[in-house]
């Protein structure tokens, strides 16, 4: 059982990491992240990169949906904006990749503000449908504005370069994606210790009350949209450098739903939940692939049923978590932690 936890100053109360043990575990976790690419095979490395990208995008959507209460079906569209920005810049300019990535984020944020504009007038489900409209328009632009986006064929780009290093392999990409993911989650955590983040949460809990308390709704809702799409843009940019090809079909509506599902399964309004949800939702299809491969010798038909099974499991996870565990994986995690923390004195 944890003892000696009395806080004696506001700084201590506000601290992100409250105890030595927590810092120790965190250091241990970061060490694992660092060692991970050196010890695992290329498949796990690839998965690690995918999870990293998903964590960034899910954290972005969590800021908007989980913390500000604005549901968005446009996350894939914003990622597409980021990916196309990176692809276009790396083909047509000589900017180094950190600059293109930041520009991708800013570009997506600008589009996000534009999409967020109706959010003062419409909210809740109407807003979700407005973002759905935005993603339809974005997909249309990706497919039809051929001089910039390359039409249905999309764009192919060169691997990222910096200081004479070429980030071509998954191994090299890992060292861009994962540190960036850690950094961006930390940044998000810090946002919610500031006035801006608190304003987001106030808007989520009751927007009219928040307005009466002096929070400028339009401004903070747009800020939330901008921040969220910035994350999506960065994730999209990384996606572009990772696969090095960007097409309109890379960012379908089902991808937006995937991220929304990741936020829900992880736990809305909980950054740890976003991380867990992103990792879980990315790894479930891969686990199913492994299972299918294992079953194929006994049931030759197994691969045929994999894709429908995936759809069913995906849907069942969303429905199941919403009905039985609305606070998501984060709540399960807390429950486990509580068990150990209270250990000998439970009951």
């Amino acid at each position: 059982m944890r003892i000696g936890d009395a806080k004696q100053s506001y700084e201590a109360d506000e601290a992100i990491w409250t105890s030595q043990t927590q810092k120790l575990w965190l250091g241990f976790f970061l060490l694992i992240l660092l060692v991970f690419p050196f010890v695992v095979d290329s498949y796990l490395l690839y998965l690690g990169c995918l999870v990293g990208i998903a964590v960034i995008s899910t954290t972005g959507l969590n800021i908007l949906t989980g913390f500000t209460g604005l549901i968005s079906l446009g996350q894939a569209g914003f990622m597409g904006v980021g990916a196309y920005t990176v692809a276009w810049l790396s083909i047509n300019t000589a900017l180094p990749f950190p600059v293109t990535l930041v520009l991708a984020g800013l570009m997506a944020a600008a589009v996000g503000i534009l999409v967020g504009l109706p959010s003062l007038r419409v909210k809740g489900l109407y807003l979700a449908i407005a973002t759905l409209a935005a993603s339809v328009f974005l997909h249309f632009i990706f497919a039809e504005w051929e001089s910039v986006t390359g039409g249905m064929g999309g764009l192919s780009l060169e691997p990222a370069h910096l200081f004479g290093l070429t980030f071509q392999s998954d191994f090299m990409m890992y060292f861009i994606i994962v540190p960036l993911a850690v950094l961006m989650v930390l940044a998000a955590r810090n946002v919610f210790r500031t006035r801006i983040g608190r304003a987001f949460i106030a808007i989520r809990d009751r927007d009219i009350s928040a307005e009466i308390l002096g929070i400028n709704l339009l401004r903070y809702k747009l800020m939330s949209f901008a921040l969220s799409s910035f994350y999506a843009g960065i994730a999209g940019g990384l996606f572009a450098y990772f696969y090095r090809v960007v097409t309109p079909e890379s960012f379908p509506l089902s991808m937006s739903i995937f991220y929304l599902a990741a936020v829900i399964v992880g736990g809305m309004g909980n950054l740890l939940g976003g991380i867990l949800g992103a990792a879980f939702m990315t790894l479930v299809p891969e686990a199913l692939k492994l299972l299918t491969a294992a079953l194929t010798p006994f049931y030759p038909n197994a691969p045929v049923f994999m894709s429908p099974m995936l759809e069913i499991i995906f849907g069942a996870l969303i429905v199941g978590f919403l009905i039985f565990e609305p606070h998501g994986l984060a709540e399960i995690w807390h429950r486990i932690r509580r068990f150990f923390r209270l250990w000998p004195f439970r009951n």
């Binding site: 949906t65 209460g69 549901i71 109706p118 007038r121 419409v122 809740g124 489900l125 109407y126 979700a128 449908i129 407005a130 759905l132 409209a133 339809v136 328009f137 249309f140 497919a143 039809e144 009751r206 009219i208 009350s209 009466i212 739903i257 929304l260 599902a261 829900i264 045929v304 049923f305 894709s307 429908p308 099974m309 995936l310 759809e311 069913i312 499991i313 995906f314 849907g315 069942a316 996870l317 969303i318 429905v319 919403l322 009905i323 609305p326």
Partner: protein, 292 residues
């Protein structure tokens, strides 16, 4: 401009719009009674159409027996969904309930692919084949007869909800749940019935649309067009569903014919975006005033 061509395209669009109106009516019934935005309506349509395929194609029943069976199957599906997955979400935030329907949509797509594979299918033809002429304008027979069957159900629905006991119960529940409950209306039953009737309308429309355009697990995408219809018309307005359904069906077909198929969705979503900015509650919807 070729007016004959425009007339024929418009006619086909209006007929398609009639089916949209029917689906939108199903959507609005569910929304009015239970305040649930049903993203799975396209998949319920798809499920009923596949049932029809199984009865008429697989078991070689007469299409006129298979059609009611498929529609009943679709309505039962709606009722089961309500009982098992929507009822437990009562009182949760609308976002969560919408996500549940999205999850249901995914499950239905998976089930259909599981049983019937992902390949596109053709429904056995059961509608008369003689071309239909209205004045000089040609209309494809499948679309014309689909429109007729759809409108027949539409009229039955309108009369039912206007005059019958069940219809009054539904409208009472929609306007004030607590009052309806205290007047002895079985609100739970109304919820369930709304899902059954809504899915029934969607199922019939599903079979008719699939009969004209073919069937695949991606069929549910039509749900997006219906979403546009109900938002433009107003989520809780039956009149809105009818007007907007016909209009959006027409617009989609005309945009598809003159600009190309890739313009269909952007054209209707443009109307949606304009409506959302000007009248967020839709053309005929109730403007809800929110209080703290």
């Amino acid at each position: 401009m070729d007016w004959l061509f425009f007339g024929e395209i418009s006619l086909a669009g209006l007929a398609m719009g009639g089916l949209y109106a029917l689906i939108a009516l199903g959507f609005v019934i569910i929304y009015k009674a239970t305040r649930v935005i049903n993203f799975a309506i396209g998949e319920i349509m798809m499920f009923a159409a596949y049932l029809f395929l199984a009865f008429a194609g697989g078991m070689e029943m007469s299409p006129w027996i298979a059609l009611p069976l498929a529609v009943i199957g679709g309505s039962i599906l709606g009722g089961v969904i309500e009982k098992t997955m929507i009822r437990p979400m009562l009182g949760e935030s609308p976002i969560s309930v919408v996500m549940v329907t999205i999850g249901i949509a995914s499950i239905l797509v998976g089930l259909v692919e599981f049983v019937w594979t992902a390949d596109p299918q053709l429904l056995p033809n059961f509608l008369p084949r003689e071309p239909v002429f209205i004045g000089e304008l040609y209309l494809a027979p499948k679309i014309a007869y689909g429109f007729l069957i759809g409108s027949a159900l539409l009229i039955v629905y309108l009369l039912y909800f206007r005059f019958s006991r069940g219809g009054v119960a539904l409208r009472a529940t929609a306007s004030d749940q607590a009052a309806a409950y205290s007047m002895g209306i079985n609100v739970r039953r109304v919820f369930n019935m709304a899902w059954v009737f809504g899915s029934l309308a969607a199922s019939l429309a599903g079979v008719l649309v699939a009969a004209t355009g073919g069937l695949s697990p991606q069929f549910g995408i039509i749900g997006l067009s219906v979403l546009v219809v109900v938002i433009v018309g107003g989520l809780d307005s039956i009149l809105g569903a009818l007007v907007a359904g016909v209009f959006i069906g027409w617009l989609e077909t005309v945009a598809g014919a003159y600009l190309g198929g890739e313009y269909r969705m952007p054209a209707t979503f443009l109307v949606l975006a304009i409506i959302l900015v000007i009248r967020p509650y839709g053309l005929f919807g109730t403007h809800e005033i929110e209080r703290v």
